[in-house]
């Protein structure tokens, strides 16, 4: 409960601060609040999502200039006259403009590798800065003055102390929305962006959409901060919206602790106060005027990245005794399940699949068929091309030639996300879990497609009913694979064998009719293997089709209904386990030929 007390204490402090602090300190706190709003957006974008933007100050500027122009405009053309004179219209137009620009930039750059977004936003940031400075109607470099004060509930906000409450109320709302978002179905998808894109896509997450979403949210937070700024200062010019300010915002997020929402507030506070302080005495020290604080910031940031890459917040939280996180899963109505196909019906068919990597032929004319209610094993020596075949079938990779049919539909050129929707789910040979997330949350990513509530309801936590059902389902699958005791531990703390088992739970959360398992028994102990075999038999009994890559021959031979053997990318044998075991080509592949 400690955290709740701290939060209450923090809010109480915010409530009395303006009454105790001097005018100067209230102004400083106002700025920290304004910067925090932007920095929270960057934490979501950079710290959690692993994307980077140098355009945040430009979004702040868009929000600021939109309201500055509209609320002071006297010469709007007739059709647009209704937009003028009101800060609220300014806010609305600012939000629309920002959303438009962010969508465009996001769509342009987010499909490319990660470093194009920062480069694209640098260009956007510089362009907008020069536009602000050169457009006549925006006042050029002198800017726009005479912006009206905000009036809220009949109260005119001319005083910094009144504004303080408005700014910090917005800060708290922004923090609340962001924390809510991260603790939801959409939030798990967002947290998978950093280091789990392939996995998330295979679980049906549209990662490109998630990226655009967080870029949009971060931009809108910037816009709102800019709107507040304009009405606090009652004056805007291009300077506070330059690339340098964008860089400063980024520093706040990184310094505070890029992955922690509250860290944004710490970062904004530290940088703002430090800057104030350095600007006072560095020019005296050097005997010249200039923005020398950037030297210190530069060194400080390199030092932080080298020594404490997670920033200040995790260091602070270590000082506070941690409350144990929620350790119960609330019972909820089970999610609806899809009816499984009748046993014996063909689920998956691969016809003459060829996969080339440059000159290397990893799969050559592979044919394969899996029926509902059977376990099909794909075996072969290391490097035979089994995992490549898995990737081609599940859409993680695309076959160079040939056809893959799933439930009678051609899926050869579909993305893994689309294939997941059709009812195929898989595990990975090299475990792809999000190490810092709990076992339960990792499993819940598998249930992504069984929920439908999107970003807005997640941010407002209006999706709690659905979320409960998703988590209950995840808990059920975690229990089913025998990991109940580690449900709330970080996935990265599990032994490798258990991590593989967790991947199966995640795949089962998707309610699939075909399960692709890549070496599920590797790293398991004898009893665990038996339990796994039991589980797979049970799933088969329920009518699920299972395609299995495995090296453990005892495990395969006792379990599989049919076996396909691969060597050098080609199928060398197919049949019942006993037949395959006697096949001379198979024996040669495994044991080597006799000269």
């Amino acid at each position: 409960m400690q955290q709740r007390y701290l939060l209450v204490a923090f809010i109480a402090l915010l409530l009395i601060a303006p009454q105790l602090a001097s005018e100067f300190h209230v102004t400083l706190l106002n700025y920290i609040g304004l910067y925090s709003i932007v920095a929270v957006g960057l934490v979501l974008l950079t710290g959690v999502g692993g994307l980077m933007s140098f355009g945040q100050a430009a979004f702040v500027g868009l929000g600021g200039y939109a309201t500055a122009y509209l609320s002071t405009a006297t010469e709007l053309p007739g059709w647009a006259a209704f937009l003028g004179g009101s800060p609220w219209m300014g806010l609305l137009v600012g939000i629309l403009l920002t959303a438009g620009v962010a969508l465009l930039l996001g769509l342009l750059t987010l499909r490319l590798s990660g470093h194009y977004l920062p480069l694209g936003t640098i260009a956007w940031s510089i362009s907008l800065y020069f536009l602000f400075g050169n457009l006549e109607f925006l006042g050029g470099h002198t800017g726009i003055s005479g912006i009206p004060a905000l009036t809220l509930f009949g109260l005119q906000m001319k005083d910094g102390r009144n504004f303080f409450y408005l700014i910090w109320a917005v800060v708290m709302v922004v923090v609340w929305l962001t924390l809510n978002l991260l603790d939801s179905r959409e939030g798990r998808a967002i947290r998978a962006l950093k280091g789990g894109v392939v996995m998330a896509e295979a679980m049906g997450v549209d990662t490109a959409r998630s990226k655009v979403v967080i870029f949009l949210i971060a931009a809108l937070f910037g816009c709102i901060s800019g709107w507040l700024y304009a009405h606090l200062q009652r004056f805007v010019n291009p300077t506070p919206f330059s690339l340098y300010m964008s860089i400063e915002y980024l520093f706040m997020a990184v310094l505070g602790g890029a992955g922690h929402v509250w860290g944004a507030l710490v970062g904004a506070g530290v940088i703002t106060i430090l800057k104030q302080w350095l600007q006072d005495w560095l020019p005296k020290l050097f005997g010249a005027s200039g923005n020398f604080e950037m030297i210190v910031f530069g060194f400080l940031l390199v030092f932080v990245l080298q020594r404490a890459r997670d920033g200040i917040w995790p260091i602070l939280t270590r000082l506070i005794p941690q409350r144990a996180s929620i350790r119960t899963v609330v019972a909820a109505e089970p999610l609806p399940t899809k009816a499984l196909p009748d046993a014996g019906q063909v689920l998956l068919e691969a016809n003459n699949v060829v996969k080339r990597f440059g000159g290397l032929v990893a799969n050559n004319n592979m044919n394969l068929m899996v029926r509902a209610g059977e376990i099909m094993a794909l075996i072969g020596p290391n490097g035979a091309g089994k995992s490549t075949m898995f990737n081609c079938v599940s859409g993680v990779d695309r076959a160079t030639e040939g056809k893959v049919l799933f439930r009678g539909r051609e899926v050869t050129s579909l993305d893994s996300r689309e294939i997941a929707k059709l009812g195929m789910s898989r595990t990975f040979q090299h475990v792809r879990l999000l190490a810092t997330m709990s076992v339960l949350e990792n499993a819940a990513i598998g249930a992504h497609l069984r929920g439908s509530k999107a970003v807005l309801s997640s941010m407002l936590h209006l999706e709690r009913a659905e979320e409960k059902r998703l988590l209950a389902e995840a808990a059920r699958q975690v229990e089913r694979v025998g990991l109940k005791d580690s449900m709330f531990e970080a996935a990265g703390s599990l032994a490798l064998g258990q991590q593989r088992t967790l991947e199966i739970a995640r795949a089962l959360c998707a309610d699939p009719c075909l399960l692709l398992l890549d070496e599920p028994a590797a790293g398991l102990r004898y009893l665990e293997k038996q339990a796994l075999a039991e589980l797979l038999r049970k799933l088969r009994g329920e009518g699920m089709g299972i395609l299995l890559v495995e090296h453990d021959m005892d495990f395969v031979m006792g379990l599989a209904d049919r076996v396909v053997v691969m060597e050098f990318g080609e199928k060398i044998a197919e049949g019942l386990p006993e037949e395959v075991q006697r096949n001379p080509a198979v024996i040669e592949a495994y044991l080597g030929g006799v000269e």
Partner: protein, 345 residues
């Protein structure tokens, strides 16, 4: 606009474009070898130009103090690492490069009067001060994070950029400098007068590109860099030190940067923060080459130079806007033609 002006603007554009091309090559090189997006490239441009200007004004350039300071810092770190690991044999080398070299440079500058020396000697001296800052920066800022993600390295780049711009302001002040042209001559082709400086820029750029090409094709170090760019792990398994590759690529980048600054200083006034915009225009070129193709990057950079020069004629207030929005169609093209499944971090 008549033909005369068009030709003049074209000449300007190609001159600047040649500089951007050099920078874009360096950016592609550094990114390929180290995965660092080298934002501070522009600071080396400014440092090169301003160091030369300081010599000509008879002042001691602040980059000397930076060289000494960075040298001492690297020496302290490397010596403590070497002593802890018991590599006593490394010590003379560390001392020589990081302490003796800067001290020798300082002694030379105080003994000779650089402002009375011929231009060529001044240029060599400027390069001798600025170029070693590249590998020193790599050692101090990037090497401890060499295996971090592109994102973290990018944040480091921004931090280094800020620190260097601030130091530039401290060393050289807020006033800009312009150096005299390498030659006053000019040649007349038809109705067009080509200034000597333009010929110098084009000639020197071409020469540098040829030298780099020979370096990468013919020398063992050039091949080592190419190998590292293609496959870091593979190169390391073949005995190529990634630390060496990193320092060498930064050395080349700071050489190209400082040299570009010296070339461009007679054409434009250089301020402590001018380098950033120049470097970013190199970036636009590099992005045209998708951060991987040298010829495309150079062509893109030339395009940037021409675009800038013609737009400064028609809409001079918006020339930066026009240049930087050039990357939007490029990004559209790249995003339509690339399909990649890539795990980042």
């Amino acid at each position: 606009m008549d033909l005369q002006i068009a030709l003049l603007l074209g000449q300007d554009g190609i001159t600047n474009g040649a500089i951007y091309a050099l920078l874009s090559l360096a950016l592609v090189l550094v990114f390929a070898v180290t995965r660092v997006i080298f934002i501070p490239q522009g600071e080396f441009v400014a440092f090169g130009a301003l160091t030369l200007a300081s010599f000509q004004a008879g002042k001691t350039p602040g980059t000397l103090w930076l060289l000494i300071g960075a040298g001492v810092a690297v020496a302290l770190i490397d010596l403590s690492v070497a002593l802890r690991a018991g590599h006593v044999r490394r010590i003379p080398r560390i001392v020589a490069w990081n302490l003796v070299y800067p001290a020798a440079a300082a002694a030379l500058i105080f003994l000779v009067k650089p402002n009375e020396m011929p231009l060529l000697a001044q240029i060599v001296l400027s390069l001798a001060l600025v170029v070693p800052l590249g590998p020193l920066t790599y050692r101090l800022a990037y090497q401890p994070l060499a295996e971090a993600s592109v994102l973290v390295l990018l944040i480091v780049s921004v931090a280094v950029h800020l620190a260097l711009v601030g130091l530039g302001l401290l060393f050289f002040g807020a006033e800009g400098s312009r150096t005299p042209a390498f030659s006053d001559g000019s040649i007349v082709i038809g109705s067009l007068t080509v200034t000597g400086q333009t010929l110098w820029v084009l000639g020197a750029s071409l020469m540098l590109i040829v030298v780099l090409a020979v370096f990468f094709e013919r020398t063992i170090y050039g091949k080592a860099l190419r190998a590292t760019a293609m496959n870091r792990t593979g190169a390391r398994l073949m005995g190529i030190s990634t630390v060496m590759a990193g320092k060498l690529s930064f050395l080349l980048a700071s050489l190209i940067g400082a040299f570009s600054g010296i070339l461009i200083a007679p054409i434009t006034t250089i301020y402590y923060d001018t380098g950033f915009l120049i470097g970013l225009k190199g970036f636009v070129g590099a992005i045209v080459g998708a951060l991987s193709s040298y010829p495309l990057a150079a062509a893109g950079a030339l395009l940037v130079g021409l675009l800038e020069s013609y737009s400064s004629f028609w809409a001079s207030a918006f020339k930066e806007v026009i240049v930087f929005t050039l990357i939007i169609p490029v990004l559209v093209w790249l995003s339509l033609t690339t399909r990649h499944v890539e795990e980042e971090e």
